[in-house]
Symmetry: D2
Subunit: 341 residues, 4 copies
């Protein structure tokens, strides 16, 4: 049985584990006050061409989302998210638990556009009987595998700035977005166009870790208090830092993400060749083919993946995810199996 | 320069890192649904002689404290803690941030007694104008190095049960408590006498991880929702599980804690021999000797540790901490240096 | 200018103000421990035929909603509401501010049905990655003037009990619902079929006050703590109690609501006669006729009301509200003005 | 039986009730958008000589405290209060329930001094492991009847401004403070020296209501959102406004408070004459004489008051409170009864 269920089924890229061993007994300061944290942050600042950026290493996506958002909003302020957004759909009310409403917007492709924001601002204008929309949450790549183009992100960024809205980008799969074949954004663009974003390691080579980046120091003021208060400040910050040190010092992060995308594209191509269609137009490591239920059943004998959504009596959309660790041999076997059905 | 500042200056015991490498590419379920989690939990249940116990792996102490407490209390219920308790003194209002008051009780030795609780219940009896005390938070070993005897913990447990108070033990340094020379408690006792407790790995051989144990399944009902909501559920739960697997399969946890205690005792003995006294009566890995300021200054040239509290113009209490990783040669050198002053 | 904008433009029924004066200097206990509170609660318990009911007097609807809900839910539990529900649409995220997600359900008539709940439970079944739906919030009459029939409320109640969901009815306009011409529910039915509900005085004869009713004493346990904590416990509880004492001792509450409904029906009939249609099928004191914009403009010269929603270039739906204090002469004048256009 | 238990045993000054009746059927806007609110705010701004002040009418003290504080603090910021402060001692954790720690400071007279604040800032300096003190909460008069002198309040205000601390004054009994014989502060001083304060009507002639005053408009920005969100915005704001309109248009507020103080002083003098001492040095309407227990028992036969604190086997401190409504005849009878014992 081989799993395409998610991109966190394996541990970490070996470089990371080796570095942990190599540095293991060097005494370091606690709570992020260690040499590896300094070094990793410097490398990241260079890669995003933003020497001012304030960077913090956290443990996971939900944690990053709730801490960033609750540190930036006043009690009556709210978040705008696509209905498919992770904070709305999959995080057990983590944002609401910090006191803030998440306003969900319907989208066809998982991406927010200025028109969506404009409409929401109108719907939430009856002050003080409604919350005040203040932060826009997007993901790149999105939860359904799509990515933002530079034009799209610029338009969104411009709109947010004109309306005093903060723009926060969830980059749990940022590597996959930035290495997609149709991508034209860079890490430096992301840093320029958003107020805060994060770079996910957990789903792309790390065993743990998201690097939260505040693009302006002012936005990050006193963020360490919130980190500590919400239980996100690890005593051994070196664990998180070393993930990013290894992933970014030689652009391993992008190499690994590219691999995942290529593996997904191989599977996509084979599925298209068989004449099947897709639920979403993904160019990253999550694809959602619509397959006959007998095909699904047959593939499921040797390959694990989620059935995402029933389409009709005979077909369903499934979700297939590849990762930095996906074995190309297994992908080839999967494709062969598919062809033979 | 050698550091006695804390017990998290080094990485992890090598067995843990080796196991991470050994298991690295085995595909596993996410969010704690992996073989290592199952195995580690089974070993822990055996060690505490409680097959019913519900166990969850979290990332750190503050996180464990705030999630356990907020999962157990109603909105108007409060926690009782010693004023020295970590949740009151050092966690940036983490408990209050979940909506609950922490009632601080003065103690001389960092430990709560039934009489303290009785007095607090009386002070907080004017329903509904005061919060309702509902959970008692203790640490073993305490923040000042002391430990609970079996008689003391039994008395506290009896009192709590008679008053419908939950008893929660912070075991960030539980290993050090249970291997102290004057200890008479076992892990099984802790599991019997408390409602919920945790076993800290971060400060005793792990690179990350606390094992939260609910001694009755009913108390743990739906706890996974809260874990997810507060951002504590790691996608790669294997990272946490492997810490406990390696630390407990051969009682390495206790061996390491014992080492830390023995190193601290060596230093204590040398200090006593020089005629100095101590701020607290510690038998664990944190000691608080009161030293002349010139001695402190001299030692500080080669050894790092915190000045804890000014005693008078000429003397101050310092905090010296040893750990599983403390090098006995360095301890010997420190003692020699001390003797020579 | 005469206002049909809302049902809180005037003060209180004179009986209430007279009773306040009559009892003004009688010394009473504070915080609800007064004779008028005891007496008013007894009358209410009789009217709802539930001697066990626990009753609390609060100041307003948003306050009642947020305190009731936050007293009943665990941190990971959520509320299901119609999208038109007051807590979702008009209360500045009051429920989310207590940490709980409000799951909004689309409806055509402002009412929730068992099928809506069933669908929501399915959508929120992926424990622990989603909140746990636990409380169902409905309003009677609804925010768009419709009412629940006995059959509908029984079906909802049965479903909730079978799924361990709490049923909470917002009765800010309960009087209007229970005196609507097509109503077949009684106060006793409401008390039997829900877990908790409230009877609004603010919009029906009182100057302030909602009576929150827990139909089972167990559900109300320790509710007074939450009242105090959220700032809802008035020092002079007599103010709230006297509203209900006067409104219920001779069924004045229902007489007043009936008047409001009859006034609204008169206007409705006149509008129908003119051949206009309505946005919703209201039989209570809020009606939503769809009128040509010139008609709206003309009426607006002498009558104030809200334009609710644009329908097309030439027509819009407006909201006209009557109340216990609506002057029948003004209604007649309005109808005449309408006829003459 | 006559009660000296508190200052909210009676209803409202008759002028208020009469004005409610007089204005009862005038149609007004809801939620504070009414003529009486505008007028009352204008009068208050004149009385405090601050045309810029932003004023909001709320229902009670706990509500005012929790809404003001939670609107001003970031999630990691905390409040400093005397241990006797109402928010620390008597409000069921209302502030903590909004997520903020209340740091309690021991005082002998219920008043905070700059030295207390300085010490607290030092104790809470280990960023980010402790909360950040940001707002100072004081009461005038205090919970034990004492008042701030102008010199004291100026010193506190200067200190707060030099340390970027907000100064918030709970004026539930501000009238009693400002009319005490030894008072040298004016309403204008309060408005100049604090950032935000409130004027309590509930305990001085009103049946409900506290007027929250932000002395700088900037501090009040978007406060109406928080009011609505926490359930404090009454649909019929006229009820609150009319309390202040009547109490302030002819300085009735101060006349009433003065009466309460004079009544308390009469009792104090008689007690002193009998040779008894006092727990606190009160010049306002709350006094705390220390009496033999037989005397307490005897007085209790005809007069209700609280036993505050046991002093020794034979004596206890009691709390006697007078109010705007206290009947001088009853005071005289009480004094006679005391003399005769």
């Amino acid at each position: 049985m081989y799993s395409f269920k998610n991109d966190y089924a394996e541990g970490a890229h070996p470089n990371i584990l080796n570095k942990l061993i190599e540095t293991n007994l060097v005494q370091q300061g606690g709570y992020g006050d260690d040499d590896y944290s300094f070094e990793a942050k410097n490398i990241l600042r260079q890669k995003m061409n933003n020497p001012e950026a304030e960077i913090f290493f956290l443990s996971g996506g939900t944690q990053s989302n709730l801490i960033v958002i609750s540190s930036l909003l006043k009690v009556y302020e709210a978040v705008i998210s696509a209905r498919t957004g992770h904070i709305f759909a999959n995080e057990t009310g983590a944002i609401e638990a910090t006191g803030h409403k998440v306003i969900a917007v319907e989208t066809t492709d998982g991406k927010l556009k200025p028109a969506d924001l404009q409409k929401t601002l109108q719907e939430y204008s009856l002050k003080p009987h409604v919350v005040k929309p203040r932060l826009v949450y997007i993901s790149n790549s999105t939860e359904i595998g799509t990515i933002y183009s530079k034009t799209e992100l610029e338009a969104l960024s411009d709109f947010c700035r004109s309306k005093d809205l903060l723009l926060f980008l969830d980059g749990a799969r940022l590597g996959h977005a930035l290495t997609a074949q149709n991508n034209d954004l860079t890490l430096a663009d992301i840093s320029k166009l958003t107020d805060v974003f994060y770079i996910g390691a957990t789903k792309n080579g790390g065993i743990i870790g998201e690097a939260v980046v505040f693009n302006q120091p002012k936005t990050a003021e006193d963020f360490d208090y919130v980190l500590k208060q919400k239980g996100a400040m690890l005593a051994k910050g070196r664990l998180l830092a070393i993930q990013f040190l290894e992933l970014f010092k030689d652009d391993l992060y992008f190499t690994l993400a590219k691999h995942a995308n290529v593996m997904a594209a191989k599977i996509s191509d084979a599925i298209k060749l068989k004449g099947y269609s897709f639920l979403t137009d993904s160019t990253t490591n999550q694809i959602f083919p619509i397959l006959p239920k007998e095909v699904i059943e047959e593939l499921n004998k040797k390959y694990a993946f989620y059935v995402w959504k029933d389409i009709d009596k005979n077909t369903a959309a499934v979700r297939i995810i590849t990762s930095w660790a996906t074995d190309e041999n297994k992908v080839n076997e999967f494709i062969t199996a598919l062809k033979e059905i």
